[in-house]
Symmetry: C2
């Protein structure tokens, strides 16, 4: 077995090197690349993707995996080897089911889809994107077909982002929270005078914002010897292998929250990647468990830590010092309320913590309906607007601020949005467990002490990488299946206090 | 043929994508990478190098080249296709002669060599590096053996950097210029009072230096939509494919020349790469013709342009404006003389235009002697010091400032230094031809007009990439075989005037 395992490690190592290299190319493309470099770059990415894919679904990988399977019985299910063989084998079986010609065609269709979406969005005209979306939905159904039989046509799509999770699981928790969230939001809206957050929209010097953000995430535990921070239009986190995890931040000198919470969010993703065990290097397990678990980490640092009162007790004096002209006369509590202002709004990415999930549930409903064939692409804008009214009580003035606001569908990513909401739920599930284990956690925040939190996350979540399927990991750590209760308790407690409900 | 040519283009395109990707990884390593990223990065580079090499010397490439060779007779020798097939076939034959096991072993030996060299240099103790150098010389001889019979054991090494050039060609021109350069230098030294260049060693703000450099190279014609500039310890130029050529600069706030001429030098390399015909994209011809031709471009922009009086007539007022505290009371002529000060010195990379080649000829002599077996590694420090006395009239106080100053030999690069000197010779050969074609060239510099020069270089040199072997290109453009006469004329004229000889 030793020899076979070594060959397997070598094969998977080379594929992992190719994938990490593609991450470098992608990062550079968004952070540095001059405009005329785009054509050559796209060829490089295509060549590397082709090489990685053909190595992964190649004969040698298939034979090596087959030869290793008999040894699984002798391995402990928590061992690196067991997880590596079994999870790679699952992924291999999945990828083998999808014809290469389909992959190429889908890549072509989604590239065109994104171009069409960009034009449609800037013209605020859904009809320019409708034919592309129709084709994408058709091909997503075809894709699901490769994995038939399934419980729901949405399941194979969701499985790409959340291995093992089913549409029915998501529906169950969403149906549980929807009425409660809508009701809670209504109570806040009814309560009357909105919070004044105009102080966030003053002029904030970019260099000072940068320095403050660096200070915060260093205190969190982001390791700059194993990572770095750069600027990009759309913030993201990427990993190039053990010891090199990078975040990007978008700065807006006229809106403090943009970079401030954006940096904490990406640092949350990055600390997860920085905490994966080195023993999983150069394998497909050297990443977070899933998009939802990843989002649980980014949202935890951004919201449960970064938008908490204890955190600001530690950091607000420093922020006031940096921006006395804007914050010198604003008290801690007024600032805390401003960064936690709740208001139904049109755009998901700017939504507050309270309304965010409503934007996701709306998308989940529409995705299910389209995949089931209950909703035609042509009827999507109307369905969108009516859902916005139902969930948030507002109606978009146009397609750009409504159905066309997100890039995801144009790139074929159906099922992706769901993971954002699940990330919020998982963050709260973990949080209740953490508070059980570390009762004085939040008083530490007041002294800018975050090591207990990061250590807990490293020990219980990070180091495992993707050895376990996401919901198995959640169960293992919290003892519970996916539930929305901790999240609803959190919302009620936090916003009940802020809004004096 | 069309079909075979397409398959060939595809194969060579994939290899080119892998090589360009390795350039991205290498650039990022020197410009951005956090320290803990080194281990993963070295695995990625090794995997990509292995893939590129095995594709290049693989059966399919051999068969495709064989199948294409009969068509060469019908192609014009200046056509892209002809050059691409014939030059790739030559390279294929070369690489096939070197066993993969040798390549791997040499890579290991030179990695260790560089580590030993670093330690030896910082301890200024050659004996710590001597065993490594012995092994490297032994393996370089073994390498040459793969290409026997040869005229000289140095020829196969030189051929890797300057395809087609022989040790005898180099010796001929070096022997021609050596006595003349030594004599000219002696005349300058004898002339008496040295130029005062202390103004270059005052404090120069880094941001202002950066802005001035950007302004200069933009005027030269460096295209920032097809490239960018970053900082690194050791400046270099790298290309990631058509439309993406990057330079790096090292700034020293206490020494103006460092970044100033370094930026012009790298921009010279970069404009060469930016000027290669797009039709050669994704082939091994989409690069400069050789190291020497490359160096002819970088040294031309740095020295023939950047250290000329007409250039400074245009740019000195702006520099004075930026640094009035240092240059406000320094006249144009004093500045011009300072940046052209001649002085025998110990370190090659800081050598002036007049003494630079002497540093190279010394290294060439020692390389030949070691490769021929006339000089043992153990005797190298003494040989070095005695040559320094012979060529430059000075003796290093220790190994660090003598035989250990350069990294090249520790990395196995024997034959590389030679190309620096040849670059100077070729630059002057081209320059005389350019002045014939554009008589008012230098008066244009006074108005910061460089387009005639760049256009000429693009048309006659750049666009060809490496379609032609370097000395064939030089002959094609200048009508002459490699000669040192234009270079000696240039030195005599320029420094005769400055030093009033």
């Amino acid at each position: 077995m030793k020899e076979k395992m070594e060959r397997f490690r070598q094969l998977i190592g080379e594929i992992s090197d190719l994938e990490n290299t593609m991450s470098v190319l992608g990062w550079d493309q968004q952070v540095n690349m001059p405009e005329n470099g785009a054509e050559a770059r796209s060829m490089q990415l295509a060549t590397l993707a082709g090489l990685a894919h053909s190595k992964f679904v190649g004969t040698e990988m298939g034979q090596t995996l087959e030869a290793l399977k008999p040894f699984l019985a002798d391995l402990h299910p928590d061992s690196d080897e067991y997880c590596l063989i079994s999870r790679t084998a699952e992924e291999y079986e999945k990828q083998k089911k999808v014809p290469t010609s389909f992959v190429a065609e889908f890549s072509r269709v989604t590239t065109m889809g994104q171009q069409a979406w960009e034009k449609a969005k800037s013209a605020s005209d859904f009809s320019k994107f409708q034919p592309n979306l129709e084709k994408i939905i058709e091909m997503r159904r075809e894709y699901a077909g490769f994995f038939a039989p399934y419980d729901h046509v949405y399941d194979p799509l969701l499985d790409d982002f959340e291995p093992g999770l089913k549409a029915a699981d998501v529906r169950r928790v969403f149906e549980e929270i929807k009425p409660q969230q809508v009701e809670l939001l209504q109570a806040i809206v009814d309560k009357g005078p909105v919070i004044d957050d105009s102080l966030l929209y003053l002029h904030y010097d970019e260099d000072k914002q940068w320095n403050f953000g660096v200070d915060v995430i260093e205190k969190f535990g982001f390791d700059f010897t194993s990572g770095r921070q750069d600027r990009s239009i759309h913030p993201f986190t990427t990993e190039f292998g053990h010891g090199d995890v990078r975040i990007t931040t978008h700065f807006d000198t006229e809106f403090l929250s943009m970079a401030l919470f954006g940096t904490m969010h990406e640092a949350g993703h990055a600390m997860y990647e920085q905490g994966v065990s080195k023993s999983l290097s150069r394998t497909m397990l050297h990443h977070g468990a899933s998009l939802a678990v990843h989002e649980s980490q980014s949202r935890m640092w951004e919201n449960l830590v970064g938008r908490s009162l204890p955190f600001w007790k530690a950091f607000y004096p420093r922020l006031q010092e940096l921006f006395p002209e804007n914050l010198g006369n604003v008290g801690l509590n007024a600032f805390y309320r401003a960064v936690n202002k709740v208001e139904p709004s049109l755009i998901r990415i700017f939504a507050d913590e309270m309304t965010y999930n409503l934007h996701i549930m709306l998308r989940f409903d529409l995705e299910l309906a389209m995949m089931q064939g209950d909703l035609e692409a042509a009827d999507l804008p109307e369905a969108w607007n009516s859902k916005m009214q139902e969930y948030l009580g507002i109606t978009p003035p146009n397609d750009a601020k409504g159905v066309l606001q997100d890039v995801h569908w144009s790139g074929g990513m159906i099922g992706y949005f769901t993971t954002y909401a699940l990330g919020n739920l998982i963050a709260s599930m973990l949080w209740e467990k953490i508070l059980e284990d570390i009762p004085n956690l939040e008083s530490g925040f007041e002294k800018a002490e975050f090591a207990p939190l990061l250590d807990w996350l490293r020990e219980n979540v990070h180091r495992h990488g993707s050895k376990y399927k996401p919901m198995d990991l959640v169960k293992k750590v919290t003892g519970k299946a996916l539930t929305a209760e901790p999240y609803m308790r959190y919302l009620r407690s936090k916003f009940g206090e802020i809004y004096d409900l």
